[in-house]
């Protein structure tokens, strides 16, 4: 049977193989999970149960519940001073992932290019390809803190470039881009008349720094699609609630795709998100506090065992270099899993320049981190001797 060449051109996920091995094994300590270990705070789950009891089981507006959009708009304005009209500039999506797919469909002509710094989340490139575009990656490594220089971004611009994709705090590196660098990239976008797509899903998980919201920067507002969601900040991954904010014309275009693809995000999850927006702040702060402790512990342990690891400033990932071991990312991850039962994700899953690194998620208990670090340290010692 025929399968679209566009779909075939995307290689199967490199993570899949590890997933299959892990699911056959017992007593694995996993640092391979890109989601919070916290269960969604009880008040949020309870709000959903209550709304179900009341019979909220219907479609909502294609844009999502207006109350939720109003709360999100108010939160963005309060936190970043950026104003979006909840009536026509905000769209509730099925996770931030859907929002990213919508943007690509809304802005790309066949062959249009999107510049994406790597390493990055696994879905960005496929989204561009599925929408008919060509991803153009810009490589980074730990010596630059996994941040591309604005000149490197500009060097990747061609007449076919349509957008620059940014995602900070970053998965898998935890990098946070300083305001000045962001402004320089915004200036490039203005100069070449490009969109900026900003995936801010980890904006609340930032440690000792202030997050810069790109649309708040001069020149950025009209050309930026701001994508965010509830998965990471409120430990609501399984609810699949994200959102996009943009100028009304672009948002309308994205809504058109959304309406014919999924109609609307599930109402029960939107109800839960309303509670998260209204009363979830304290629970969220507590989770951030705990991530911060775990971050300190894991980075220290990784460096102590000889794996060079820059301190991630956001998200919940450490991305140590394993080059000193002489193993490739996949060899390292596979051996570590089989010999010491610790699961990490090989860095090359997040782009070619992720080779030589592994991603260790610290969204797991201090006790698990202690066990994992002990095993990993033993493993590194063994292969280095």
């Amino acid at each position: 049977m025929h399968i679209s060449s566009k779909i075939k051109s995307v290689p199967p996920s490199g993570i899949r193989k590890f997933f299959d091995i892990v699911s056959q094994m017992k007593d694995v300590v996993s640092l391979g999970v890109g989601e919070p270990d916290f269960v969604t705070p009880w008040r949020i789950r309870e709000a959903c149960i209550y709304s179900l009891g009341k019979g909220y089981t219907t479609y909502t507006s294609n844009y999502g519940l207006l109350e939720l959009r109003r709360l999100i708009a108010a939160d963005i304005e309060k936190t970043y001073g950026v104003e979006y009209n909840p009536e026509n500039q905000l769209l509730i999506t099925v996770g931030a992932s859907e929002a990213i797919m919508l943007v690509m469909h809304a802005i790309l002509e066949p062959g249009d290019e999107v510049i994406i710094p790597e390493p990055c989340f696994v879905a960005y490139k496929p989204c561009v390809i599925f929408a008919g575009g060509n991803p153009v990656t810009v490589c980074t490594d730990h010596t630059s803190g996994f941040l591309p220089a604005p000149e490197e971004i500009e060097a990747a611009v061609t007449p076919r470039t349509r957008a620059i994709f940014l995602s900070y705090p970053n998965n898998p590196t935890g990098a946070v881009m300083p305001k000045e660098t962001l402004q320089a990239i915004v200036d490039i976008a203005v100069k070449h008349n490009l969109y900026i797509i900003s995936d801010d899903i980890y904006d609340k998980l930032i440690y000792g720094e202030t997050h810069t919201c790109i649309p708040s920067l001069p020149g950025a507002y009209q050309r930026t699609v701001y994508v965010n969601g509830f998965s990471k900040a409120y430990a609501m991954t399984g609810w699949r609630i994200g959102f996009a904010a943009a100028n009304p014309e672009l948002l309308e275009a994205m809504m058109k795709v959304h309406q014919y693809m999924v109609m609307c995000a599930p109402i029960m999850a939107q109800m839960a998100a309303i509670e998260a927006m209204k009363n979830g702040e304290q629970d969220m702060q507590e989770m951030v506090r705990q991530y911060n402790h775990r971050r300190g512990l894991i980075v220290k342990s990784l460096n102590n065992m000889g794996l060079e690891c820059t301190t991630p400033k956001g998200a919940f990932y450490a991305f140590p270099s394993i080059k000193s071991t002489g193993l490739s990312s996949e060899e390292f991850a596979e051996k570590l899993l089989l010999e010491e039962k610790v699961a990490v994700v090989p860095g090359n899953s997040f782009g070619d320049c992720g080779e030589g690194y592994v991603r260790c998620a610290y969204a797991t208990s201090i006790q698990n981190i202690q066990i994992a670090m002990e095993r990993m340290s033993r493993f590194v010692k063994k292969i280095s001797s």
Partner: protein, 159 residues
């Protein structure tokens, strides 16, 4: 300092080195801070939260609401002290509402606890009345769920 206290309150078995890494301090600083907190009596004791029921070791707890008439000059403190000095008394709180003291008493049997209340607690000078509630089941204590084990429902590898 409060950060270290919060960490110890959740898990007091973490080493100074680990707490140092978690809070961005040096192990020496952490050791000194903890010694200081112990000396000042801010850290009272290190303990484990135990589900005794699972050990088969029968322990009876009762929550007793006590109404007292306070004493001139010392208020409730003198009466509370007279009560909390009994080793059977696990916890004593001064509370607002219909009663004045909430006393938690521990014993080996209901009879033992009942006798303690009748003979010792109720006869303390200025105690007007007692109302005894035997503890039947612990659902949550010190922030720990006793009833349901919480399992990690996530997939082992997620991008």
């Amino acid at each position: 300092m409060n950060e270290i206290l919060k960490i110890l309150e959740t898990d007091c078995r973490l080493s100074p080195e680990e707490i140092a890494a978690m809070t961005g301090r040096t192990p020496k600083e952490v050791k000194e801070l903890i010694a200081d907190l112990e000396e000042k009596g801010i850290i009272r004791r290190y303990k484990a939260v135990i589900d005794w029921e699972k050990t088969g070791d029968e322990r009876i707890f009762a929550l007793i609401d006590v109404k007292v008439s306070p004493e001139r000059g010392v208020g409730f403190d003198a009466i509370a002290e007279q009560i909390y000095r009994y080793p059977e008394v696990h916890t004593v709180y001064l509370v607002s509402g219909l009663h004045d003291l909430r006393v938690v008493v521990e014993g080996k049997s209901m009879k033992e606890v009942a006798f303690f209340v009748a003979e010792k607690l109720a006869t303390v000078d200025r105690v007007q009345s007692t109302s005894t509630h035997f503890l039947l089941k612990r659902y949550k204590e010190d922030g720990v769920f006793f009833d349901i084990p919480e399992s990690d429902k996530r997939l082992a590898i997620v991008p």
